[in-house]
Symmetry: C2
Subunit: 367 residues, 2 copies
DNA sequence: ATTAGCACTCATCGCCCGAGAGTGCTAACA
DNA sequence: TGTTAGCACTCTCGGGCGATGAGTGCTAAT
C-alpha cells in the first residue's frame, strides 16, 4: 500500500473517529496537512474503496471506514497516534484498595474500564474450579448468633450468620469452630462436604441444629455457581452517536443479557497470549446485533489457575489507541494485584492433588 | 370525589400505563365497561382536568395523568388492581444463596429489583458511620504467609494477606491474632486504630514488620470508603417508550451518576416506617431531569444498626401495583436474610426438629 | 501524476396539505 | 338535571415536493 494512501486512510479514520460523520475529500484536504488537492484525495479514496478499506453510505456522502479499514488501522497505523498517558500506579491502587477478593477486583476492573473508556465494559472469570475450603472461623455476634466465616483455598471468604442455641459459652463456640474447621478443610465448596459434616454430628451432637444450618447453607452455596460475568457502563453506549438510535442500542444491550453470548464474545478473539490485547472489529465478532461494534479484550490471570478476560465494547469508531492502552493496563494491573494480594498458593500445593494438573502456568512474576 | 369520576380516572390511568398513549374519551367508552357515552366521559374528563388530576399534552390529544392524578391513584385506587403474585420464598432464596456478605445481598437485591420490575433499581446502604471492628481472625496459609480477616460490626469482612517472619509457630500466630483482635475491637475502621496498634508493638515487639503491614493496610482501607450505592438495570429504561428519546434517557442516567443525588433521592420519600413502601411521583422527586419518573422505595435493616434503602425508578407510567409489591417483598426479604433468621426456615431442619420451632421475629433490636 | 472545473446524485430540511383523532360547545332528550 | 348526539374546531402526524448543499466521478488542462 502506497504511503500516501496510508496517510489518507489514517486521516479518514482519525477524522471519522472524532466526528462520527462520513469524511469528504474537501474536509480532509483542508484539515489534515496532506498538501494535495481534494481531487487527488478523491482519487485515492476511490482506490481505497476499490481495495475494500472504505465504504460509502450512499453515493454522495463521504467515506466511512470498512471493517477491513479499521483492521488495517489497528494493525498498522496505530503507532503514530497521540498517546493518552494513564497512570499505571493509579489503576493498581484503585484495584488493590477495593480488592477484598477476586470478584471484587474483577467487578472493579469492569467499572474502571467503563469509566476510563466511556464505553461498555465486560469482565469474565473462567476456569474457576470449585473452591476448596481452607479453614473455618467463628465470630460471636450476640448471645443468639454467630458469624461463620469460611475461607477458601483461593483466599475468598464467605460468611453466614448462624443462630445459636441458648446460652452457648464462648469456649464451646471455639470448640465448634475448631471442629468445623478440621472437618471441612479440603472439602470442595458444597461438594462432598455433606458426608464429612455428618460425622460432626457425633462430635457436636447437641448442636445439631447448628450443624444443620451449616449443612443447608453449604448446599445452597453449591447450587449457586459463582458469578462469572460482569457488565458495566451500559449507559456509556448512549453517549455514542451511533447509539442514538434506541432500538439499535437496545439490541446490543439485550444481546449482552445472554451469558452464553458474552462468553462467546470474550472467547472469540483468540489471537492473544500474555499481555497482548486483542481487537475484534464489526463482523469479526460474529454477532448480528454488534456489527457496528468493536471489542478490545485482554487476559488476566490469578494464582490458582483462575483466568479471566476483560473487554471493552464500543462503536467501531472507538478510540482504539486509548482503549487498547487502557485494557492492557487494567488487565496487567489486575494480574499484579491478584498475585500480590492473593498469591496464597504456590504451584507445589496444587500438584499434591491427585489428577489435577494445571497445564496453564503463567509466569506470575509478582510485585 | 364522585365515584364515577374515580372510575374514569382509574380507567384513564390504567389505560395509559398499559399503552403509554394519551387516552381519549371514545377509546375509554369503548374499552372499559363504563356504560356511558363518550360525551359524558368528556365532561368528566374536563372536570378532572380542572381539578388537576389530568393533563392534555395538546389541545386535541387525549388526557394524561398528572402527578396529582398518579398520587391519587397510588393512594386510593390501587387496591382494586389485579394482583401479580410473586414468590416470597424464591426471592429469599436468591438473596440468601448469593449472600456472602451484606454488600452482596444489597447488590443482588438491586439486580433482582431490576429484573422483576423491568425498571432501574437503586440500592443504598446507610448508617454511613465508619464501621467498627468486631473481631480479627487469622488463618495460616503457608509458613510464610497468613490471611488476616477483619470482621466489622455489620458482619462485613475484609481480608489481607500478610507476610510472616520466618518460623512462626502456629500457636504464636494464634496469640498474635488474639492480641490484634483485642486491640482492634471497637476501633473504627481505619480511624483511631493507629494509636491502638502502637500499643501492640510492645506486646508483639518482635513482629513489628507484621504490625506495620496491618497498619498500612488499615490506612489504605480508610481511604477507600466502602461502596454504598448500587444502580442496576439502567438498560431497562430504554424499554419504556418515554425513554426512546435518547437525550432524556441520558439525562436521567447522567443524573444518577452523582452519588449525592442518589442519596438524596433515596432519602426524600420520608414517609416510611418499617415495611411500608414510599412512592414519590414526578416533581415530588425534586430532580429536574426526573420529572417524568417515579420512585418506589423501601427500607431494609441489618443487624449492627446498618440501614439501607432500595428503590425502583421508572416512568411515572410504571405499574405501581407490581412495583410496590416487589419492592416491599425484596426489602423485607433482605431484612430477613441479613438477620440470619432465614436459616431456621430450611425445610430440612424444620422436619427433623420438633423441639425448637422457629418463631417469626420480624423486627429485631439486638445489637 | 496532479488539479481545476463541471455535471450529477442524493440525503436533508423546511414547507404544505390532507387525514384523523380528539376536543368543547350547543341543543335535544329522558 | 344529567346524558347524549351532532358539529365545528384544533392540532398532530405523515407523505409529497422542491430547494439546498455536500460530495462524487469524469474530463481536460497543466
Amino acid at each position: 500500500m502506497d504511503p500516501r494512501k496510508q496517510k489518507v486512510l489514517q486521516a479518514i479514520i482519525d477524522d471519522y473517529i472524532r466526528t462520527a460523520e462520513p469524511v469528504g475529500s474537501r474536509t480532509l484536504a483542508r484539515a489534515h496537512g496532506l498538501g494535495v488537492s481534494p481531487a487527488t484525495i478523491r482519487n485515492e479514496m476511490a482506490d481505497l474503496e476499490q481495495m475494500g478499506y472504505l465504504e460509502q453510505p450512499h453515493t454522495s456522502a463521504g467515506r466511512v471506514p470498512s471493517d477491513k479499514g479499521y483492521r488495517y488501522y489497528v494493525d498498522s497505523l496505530l503507532a503514530s497516534a497521540t498517546d493518552a498517558e494513564v497512570s499505571r500506579e493509579a489503576v493498581r491502587r484503585v484495584l488493590a484498595i477495593k480488592a477484598r477478593m477476586i470478584e471484587d477486583v474483577t467487578r472493579q476492573a469492569a467499572r474502571l474500564l467503563a469509566e476510563m473508556t466511556d464505553c461498555l465494559a465486560l469482565a469474565s472469570q473462567a476456569g474457576a474450579q470449585p473452591v476448596r475450603i481452607r479453614a473455618v472461623r467463628v465470630v460471636p455476634l450476640d448471645p443468639q448468633r454467630a458469624l461463620l466465616i469460611v475461607v477458601g483455598e483461593d483466599g475468598s471468604l464467605r460468611s453466614k450468620t448462624v443462630q445459636l442455641g441458648p446460652d452457648l459459652p464462648a469456649d464451646e463456640l471455639e470448640r465448634i469452630a475448631a471442629a468445623l474447621s478440621g472437618r471441612l478443610e479440603g472439602a470442595t465448596f458444597g461438594g462432598s462436604s455433606l458426608g464429612r459434616l455428618r460425622g460432626l454430628q457425633g462430635e457436636l451432637g447437641q448442636f445439631r441444629q447448628l450443624v444443620d444450618q451449616v449443612l443447608a447453607w453449604l448446599g445452597e452455596q453449591q447450587q449457586a455457581p459463582p458469578e462469572r460475568l460482569w457488565v458495566d457502563g451500559a449507559r456509556n453506549l448512549l453517549n455514542q452517536p451511533e447509539f442514538h438510535d434506541v432500538p439499535k442500542a437496545q439490541a446490543v444491550l439485550a444481546a449482552l443479557e445472554h451469558e452464553q453470548l458474552v462468553d462467546q464474545l470474550l472467547g472469540v478473539p483468540g489471537t492473544v497470549e500474555g499481555g497482548a490485547v486483542a481487537v475484534a472489529i464489526g463482523r469479526e465478532l460474529h454477532v448480528q446485533e454488534m456489527e457496528d461494534c468493536s471489542l478490545v479484550t485482554a487476559l488476566y490471570v490469578a494464582p490458582g489457575s483462575v483466568v479471566g478476560r476483560i473487554g471493552v465494547l464500543g462503536p467501531k469508531r472507538m478510540n482504539y489507541r486509548t482503549v487498547m492502552k487502557v485494557v492492557e493496563l487494567v488487565a496487567s494491573s489486575m494480574t499484579t494485584v491478584l498475585a500480590g494480594e492473593d498469591a496464597l498458593q504456590e504451584p507445589g500445593s496444587q500438584s499434591k492433588e491427585p489428577g489435577s494438573e494445571s497445564k496453564e502456568d503463567p509466569a506470575d512474576g509478582g510485585a
